[in-house]
Amino acid sequence: MANPEPQSTPLPHAAKEVSGAVVRFVGDSGDGMQVTGSQFTVAAALAGNDLATFPDFPAEIRAPAGTTYGVSGFQINFASRDVFTPGDSPDVLVAMNPAALTTNIRDLKRGGLVIVNSGAFTATNLKKAGYEKNPLEDGSLDGFNVFAIDISKSTLAAVEHTGLSKKDAERCKNFWTLGLMFWIYDRDLASTIKWVEAKFGKRQELVDANVAALKAGHAYGETAEISHFHYKVPPAAVAPGTYRNIGGNTALAWGFVAAAQLAERPLVLGAYPITPASDVLHELSRFKHFGVTTIQAEDEIAAICLALGASYAGSIGLTTSSGPGIALKGEAIGLAVSTELPLVIVNIQRGGPSTGLPTKTEQADLFQAVYGRNGEAPVCVLAASTPGDCFYMAIEAVRLAVKYMTPVMLLTDGYLANGAEPWRIPDIADLPKIDVTFRTDPEGFHPYLRDETTLARNWAIPGTPELMHRIGGIEKSFKSGHISYDPENHELMCQTRAEKVARIADDIPELQIEVGEDSGKLLVLGWGSTYGAIREAVQRARERGLSVSHAHLKYINPFPKNLGEVLARFERVLIPEMNLGQLVKIIRSQYLVPAESYPKIQGQPFKIDEVEERIRLVMES
């Protein structure tokens, strides 16, 4: 990780082996940084590195060029060892304009490498970015290795032969930059060239221009004084298999497609667009041939109601949204609880309260998930911990929903949604089938007959002869399923619904220690997307000799059966969360342990350093 090393002067062209690096690409929204980052990612993946990525979009669709709020970024952490987060501070910052530089330079490692497109450092752009002086000239970047290259100009020169207009030609500058970065990290250009060909297909001049820019950038590496910065990151030792890079929202969508196939039932998604959940709708709407029906509803209430209607009719009902949209679904979740229908609700959390920080990440909807409804309305709550895990948790959500005839809330967040990681593609045959049996026997039937073990009521769908029945949100008799206002029956039903969800604990894995011993001084307990940062921080703290372990909750309601025991085996418990301390309250109320909260609520994921530092502080206190 200790690269670039500004003081050393390795021979030009000799790639120095390093264990990994964190690179951040930043530029104007129109500069194509997301494409650049993705292509760099693919190359790293193909080179066998482990990696994690995170894009950072501006809140505005297309802010005026050159403004600080129009800056778009993409960060990748790739290494020859296991990687769990997109990295804390970049080793390399690629900044395509002054606004990108000013908003990102403070994150760069001291001594890090800065590559800037000096061609974009015009007076206007400097002003838009709020610079009084040109930072490339005023010494404010001292302490970094700065390479100011007129990338715009170099790109124009490189693609001149293609006859593109100046505007179109300049657009290739991200490929020039990518070429240079490929040189620095000794990557193969082939996969990107293939991508460019596929992407621009019929427009040969664009293919030519982008490839020419890419190659020119690459060639530039060889020649300039930048050639000192030439690294090799060997492949990581990862489990054998076929891999792909996958983002959280894609993994989630595919997980639901898989779940539907495993259950051999159609999937009906009711959704209303909202950042950062919309992409799940987009992705699933491509899968009609998988038996997936997506409905863009008029609002979030309609979205959940139609998913519930679909569940009632025997499909797997799914609804996806984010905080404010989930707030609107509360009443209908209650109906799902009362009618005991399977339903999966996904909350891809973003910064709140209210509209909050729509494009930023947060974990502050946990209370809403566990408690946010009128009446005693227990739902099963799950949380995915990495982008790839979204795939498996989607399947798990469906499994539990249909097996227990219950709504299941699956939590992810903006960080998981947009982040990506290499993912070993599972063998379909290894995925366990999800058993769905509809009631068909009229003998002794009523809709609230229950399975003795799971307490799930039977799923009797319209279309089944002789099972005609009526359900609704009014309390029902335990014995007949008819409306009942009987006092004792109401208590029995409330307890039964609670007990049913509680029994899911018998059907889920026990909590494992991810890193460290089974007992000790400190347990760092996390949930959701903080997995990577906590894991690495605990690892590092352990390397410094601290008695600390990491466990991570993917099941929040109910908790794994052994959670109480696990907590009891540690002297102290620290819970880092991207909120003001929600899981910690739930844990305290249930187990009466003085778990300590480490809250961070900045729209940004935890850095490994931050967690490590907090562990140190706690251990010292």
Binding site: G48, T242, R244, V268, C305, L306, A310, G317, G463, T464
Partner: protein, 341 residues
């Protein structure tokens, strides 16, 4: 085919559930229930393929009394739930029962979207111009200035007319009937059932506890002929005892006139013919001001239009045809992958 045993013919009784009907004695809902149960056997849909979906309100208790599948949902949301049912299984015949509060106050948006999308549902809106279940507040169809518990000095809201609203939402079928007129109501129920797409039937329904007599001015036997007009496709828009009155268009002012045949030389020639497919006429008929004009009952508007669920199914089929049955393995391996061994 020859092996199929013909299902025994069902009767009205077969559609009665085992639950006691719990509306107030005298409520208009009873008559609507009876007529729905009467029409059901004619439609030839097996009971297990029928789903009655409702929101919350007196009217929304309806599903409990039908021996079919039934889903009593939450206030205002029945259209969304019904749409989900149809999307999951277009094979089911879905009836939606709602009230003027459920369907037009809290649920107005879902109703609008379900109408414009033309989801294949049979929608019955029981319009009693009051909130029954919550004991008598004014509703979005209550007349301006209505005095109720929540409007002791008179309501300040102008009402919305359900059928006009439906027309504004580009509904493909809009009809109106009334609880007490069994013949007309059953006829309208048949038409509602027959229409493919979102069929919207507004039924004037008397709430004898909180808004008794709301429709007496044209519901009472003595007034019925003079104060209602039963529109029929292709037939002249005549009304009154012995059909002596009629509707004519004043094309200068682009508005309807209620005229008397024979008076001022008016002849039947001048009387408009009803055309179910004309949206403008439907719009005018729906909103004729009472009592200057009669209340229009019947099918105001009906046109064929692809249904939402039909298009969904077609897209599903087309996608299957084009892509074949989805292959999960191929999906997971699509795009860039790499091998580690």
């Amino acid at each position: 085919m020859s092996n199929v045993v013909p299902a025994p013919k069902l009767t009205r009784k077969d559609f009665e559930s085992d639950q006691d009907v719990r509306w107030c004695p005298g409520c208009g809902d009873y008559s609507i229930l009876a007529n729905v149960q009467r029409v059901m056997p004619e439609l030839g849909v097996p009971r297990e393929k029928l789903v009655f979906v409702s929101g919350i309100g007196c009217s929304s208790r309806f599903p409990y009394y039908m021996n079919t599948y039934g889903f009593h949902t939450i206030h205002g949301r029945a259209p969304a739930v019904a749409m989900g049912i149809k999307a999951a299984n277009p094979d089911l015949t879905v009836w939606l029962v709602t009230g003027d509060g459920d369907g037009l106050s809290i649920g107005g948006n879902h109703l609008m979207h379900c109408l414009r999308r033309n989801v294949d549902l049979n929608i019955l809106l029981f319009n009693n111009r009051i909130y029954g279940l919550t004991k008598g507040q004014y509703s979005p169809t209550s007349e301006f200035g209505k005095i109720t518990k929540s409007s002791p000095t008179g309501s300040v809201d102008f009402p919305v007319d359900p059928s006009t609203f439906a027309i504004g939402c580009s509904a493909s079928f809009v009809a109106r009937s009334i609880d007490v007129d069994a013949t007309h109501l059953t006829e309208m129920l048949r038409r509602t059932a027959a229409h493919k797409g979102a069929s919207f039937l507004e039924i004037y329904q008397n709430c004898n506890v909180f808004n008794d007599g709301a429709f007496d001015a044209f519901r009472e036997k003595v007034h019925r002929d003079d104060r209602t007009i039963r529109v029929q496709h292709g037939k002249p828009l005549l009304f009154g005892k012995d059909n002596t009155r009629g509707l004519r268009i004043d094309s200068r002012t682009l508005s309807l006139e209620a005229v008397t045949l024979g008076e001022n030389g008016v002849t039947e020639q001048e009387i408009l013919l009803h055309d179910e497919t004309n949206p403008t006429l439907a719009y005018m008929l729906a909103r004729m001001p009472f009592p200057d004009f009669p209340v229009a009952l019947g099918v105001l508007y009906a046109v064929d239009k692809p249904t939402y669920d039909g298009t969904l199914t077609a897209q599903r089929d087309a996608s299957l045809k084009k892509n074949g049955q989805g292959d999960l393995h191929a999906l997971l391996h699509s795009g860039n992958t790499w091998q580690v061994s």
